[in-house]
Subunit: 442 residues, 3 copies
């Protein structure tokens, strides 16, 4: 009984991360696009819920090939021997038989993870994507792309066979979302006015840092479901250990990003502090169960440094990611997956509080991790690009320049987020079209 | 032990719905009334806590008549055989003996439900009600009206005897709150400026859609306590099943309301998306434990459609409900209660994931549900109207026109919600009194 | 197993109180200092996590002297006999051997408490403190000062031996934070413009009462972890009882502060309502497990009255506390600790729902409580003052007058919280230096 309570408790925390991403991304964007971002981040979990129930779960956990399931594909339609009695399900979703909770508990827990991968994309494509295109892409991601990655690693598929480990999804969830976000950001092109023909970059600050900070607190909270919940069983030693490594990496990520941005940029930028927290959390997601508390601090510190550098560098190569989602989820999803190979203890010892930074996995484990990173990168980037391009051909993916300038809230939704407040007109109508921003317009 | 942990965990989630309603309703109203709404939604749970402890619990669960309890009436004063040992209470609150948790766990769980009924009212009467009147009405609702409904259905009373089912309170909580809100909105009359003498309707957009969206996320979160927690026991099969039907109905409500409003109004309105979510959640509250996942999707989809139509139609008949509370809680409370009769499986089979849409209850069950809907409607509307009118006679219920125009924040509280920001003067002083808005002024 | 689930669930709720304090304090301050407050309240838990892991935990719970631990001091380095098996840790942290959860579960639960003490300080020193100084002070507080208090009371130290009780930390957490806040507010001096030479006081309203209200809801939520979780075991009777006494005190605090401020100030001030809630919660923190529901209502009511008076009186003596943190946490931390002596039942009877207001502890208990209050007051005020003065000498503690006038957001962080919105210029540049505000400038 307590296992199911634990799984539902942690699943609910992960569900709440939708609110966290919504606040963070809306806060980091301009008020004129706020309704659009809130709408995207609100509807995305509804889309995910339907898509994962309809086919995603079956592809991910159904018994079948090394790349996707072929049994119990549709609408959770596997042999249903468990829930009425409360015993653990032991049917055609064999790869997840190791946890003894009812089938619908497994489904719900995995659903909130699938939803997370989808909501990550929202931030990177914000402020210029058509609402309908985002909805369509989210469906494809959760119905088809994410489940294939999940099957390869958590569904008993190809990468699991190669010995790759990913405890709670640095790769399965975060890198997958990150690669899909990168593909979207590249195909959409940057926001109008972000990069100028003279080579300069215009910073576009978010409209509400209170909102962004609430969002980041909610995400940190949600991660106490994400990582400790991935035990899918209330194992006292493991869940206690994972709660502490998760928190330590977040703390180190915050300190790393804050002090590095202080040195690098002259002031401790709040946006960097928040993204440092998320970077540490993403990085510890894969190794949280296998590394010491001391290692988790090192992993988080490195993540905080990486995210600051990545945000600066992606901007330099003109990949416009309004909220830093790619720097957080892709870069640190990769880092965390490799860090597991670097810092894992030589045996599964959750609960070890010693600070030994043992290279325990050996080069074999590290190679398997790298293989996983590369495989998922190639597959998701290709599949997501294909999906974005198909949607572009079908219904278009970017709003008109006029709509982008006046804001997507009015154009896409007919709403205004803050009608009682007087708003600065920060961006006057352009006198010439911006080449970079307009290039991908469809 | 795990049962009590489950009950407290879910109760705490339901408690947090107070924050959700506060944010949703404040966000959907104008900034000039924001402090008033926040104050109402904050104090209402304090009022509920005292009222339900003082007499409400006893009336609801005390052994007694088919309509209210007569034993253990005051201040939880039943024979107290349980908490010291942790065994389940088995005293004069016989109707709730089926759950084996301590008396105070039962009380706390039921208290947060009672508080929800009260907080629902707040939105419908917003932007014109006197603060004191709302406080008095909330006390009456939780001390007297809600417990009678609860006794009839959950306290072993008259409707329970007739075979009516309401798993987590589509009728007990949501319709009750909805009927009380309708009575209040009618007796108060519409806000000044909303409906004009020439027959036109002025939309009055909410001041902060970020706040409203956070609120709705919190409510969705809270429903994972509301419905699965109503097992009041950690039955793995049941709680897993209910978590999934609850979420599926929310998802379908979101999609239904979004796409229907897109067709009906031309754009996907964020307010409709949010209310669609709540509509689906309200509708699944009664049947969540008795219907398949497939049925839950249908129930939610219909709820999403219903809420959009209801919001439009209530506006046409000039029932002014600033946040759509009546459309969400009353209309879909009724729909969910009837849907239980339509979609319940022929036996209690939580955990069935098949998509059979079995008319299992038969016409007998459906008739009992309809009887429950009608009985509660007549009783609550009459009792609430009486209470509103008594309060109107005693202290008045509506602020002065001058105060309404300048905002209740200054008039009632002497506070301003956002003093640092420059505010649009959207509503100039009127040159003539608005007949509709002024009619009910006391 | 369920004990560890309970401890982690409640710890996570307490962790989330960081978000609550962040929202509350940012909302109660001006928008020009919003980023600074959010930054402080976000980074403070990262600092706490490192400080408590590094040395704080060992000082607090390590076996040793009556005032601090001397074994297992560094980085949780006690003999580690528990987590791998999930059995309760029984090593050199003997004072906390009474709970049978893994060492890292104990650590995580205690860490979130330590973090709370630190975050309390943030509000009282807001709008004029240097970011770096706050970071340094937080480290010292969590690494050194808080653990000594904790050791004396919860770590088997001197005050525990004297018979002082403090169930969940009215003194250990809240008074400690409050004394440290008082020392900081005195040494910093008031904000520029708050108190004028002619003796008048300028109210400085907070910039976002929606944010403050969300924050207070989150704190109320978090207290359902703070108090019931302090059982550190899933004892059904105790945790149910504590949930209800905690909530009742909050409710009574809300009602007390609202109606008293209504009488005293003419209107029901929302800020007072929110602080009344927190005051009730702080006051019930020590006695929650030992008093009846009726007593908890009285304790909360008194707290609501006390906080209104304290806010007014601290302002009169020109102790500038922008959010009322000292009135909430210090004044009511003391009240709650003494109330335990006044209202505790004569035996440990969690679950008693009777309303007997028994003077059960006798004068011996009350004297022990008073000794604890005095000891902690003297120690923390002295140690915190020393720390503040050392930091002042080392790096300075207050921003320049120019920076204070223009806002700490630009000066300390280079960020603006709400760049899209038009802001009132409420505070023009001064024509003369304000004597009070400038006195402590370093």
């Amino acid at each position: 009984m307590v296992d199911t309570v634990w799984v539902l408790f942690t699943a609910v925390l992960v569900f709440f991360m939708n609110a966290g991403f919504g606040c963070l991304e809306a806060g980091f964007a301009r008020q004129k696009n706020c309704v659009n971002i809130l709408s995207k981040n609100f509807i995305v979990f509804a889309i995910s819920s339907v898509a994962f129930w309809f086919i995603g779960w079956g592809l991910m956990f159904g018994d079948g090939t090394p790349f996707f399931g072929t049994q119990g594909l549709w609408t959770l339609g596997g042999a249903d021997n468990s829930p009425a009695t409360g015993d653990g399900y032991q049917g055609v979703y064999g790869a997840i038989n190791w946890t003894g909770v009812p089938l619908l508990a497994k489904f719900f827990f995995q659903l909130v993870f699938a939803g997370t991968a989808a909501t990550i994309v929202s931030g990177a494509v914000a402020e210029r994507i058509r609402y309908l295109s985002f909805i369509l892409f989210s469906f494809v991601l959760v119905a088809l792309i994410y489940p294939v990655v999940g099957h390869m690693i958590w569904g008993g598929g190809w990468l699991a066979g190669k010995g790759m480990w990913d405890f709670a999804g640095s790769t399965v969830v975060h890198s997958t979302g990150g690669w899909a976000a990168l593909a979207g950001a590249l195909i959409l092109g940057p926001r109008f006015g972000k990069y100028r023909r003279d080579g300069s970059i215009s910073p576009i600050p978010g409209h509400n840092l209170s909102l962004a900070t609430i969002g980041c607190f909610i995400l940190w909270l949600g991660w106490f479901g994400f990582n400790p919940g991935s035990t899918m069983a209330a194992d006292p030693g493991a869940i206690s250990h994972i709660a502490v490594t998760t928190n330590s990496a977040a703390a180190a990520g915050i300190l790393g990003a804050t002090f590095y941005s202080w040195m690098r940029l002259g002031k401790p930028d709040l946006g960097m502090t928040l993204n440092g927290c998320l970077a540490g959390l993403v990085a510890i997601t894969a190794p949280c169960a296998f590394v010491s508390v001391g290692s988790s601090l090192l992993i988080g510190l490195m993540a905080g440094f990486l995210v600051v550098e990545a945000v600066i560098r992606f901007d330099r190569i003109r990949v416009d990611d309004p909220v830093g989602a790619i720097s957080v989820h892709l870069v640190n999803g990769i880092w965390g997956t490799l860090a597991l190979g670097l810092f894992a203890q030589d045996r599964f010892t959750p609960g070890t509080t010693g600070n030994g930074l043992l290279f325990g996995g050996g080069t074999g484990l590290l190679a398997a991790q790298a293989l996983g990173v590369a495989t998922v990168g190639v597959f998701v980037f290709a599949a997501a690009s294909l999906a974005w391009l198909a949607i572009k051909a079908l219904v278009g993916i970017r709003v008109s320049l006029q709509e982008e300038i006046h804001g997507l809230d009015i154009g896409e939704h007919g709403n205004v987020a803050y009608p009682d407040f007087v708003i600065h007109k920060r961006f006057p109508l352009p006198t010439e079209h911006d080449a970079v921003g307009a290039s991908a317009r469809s």
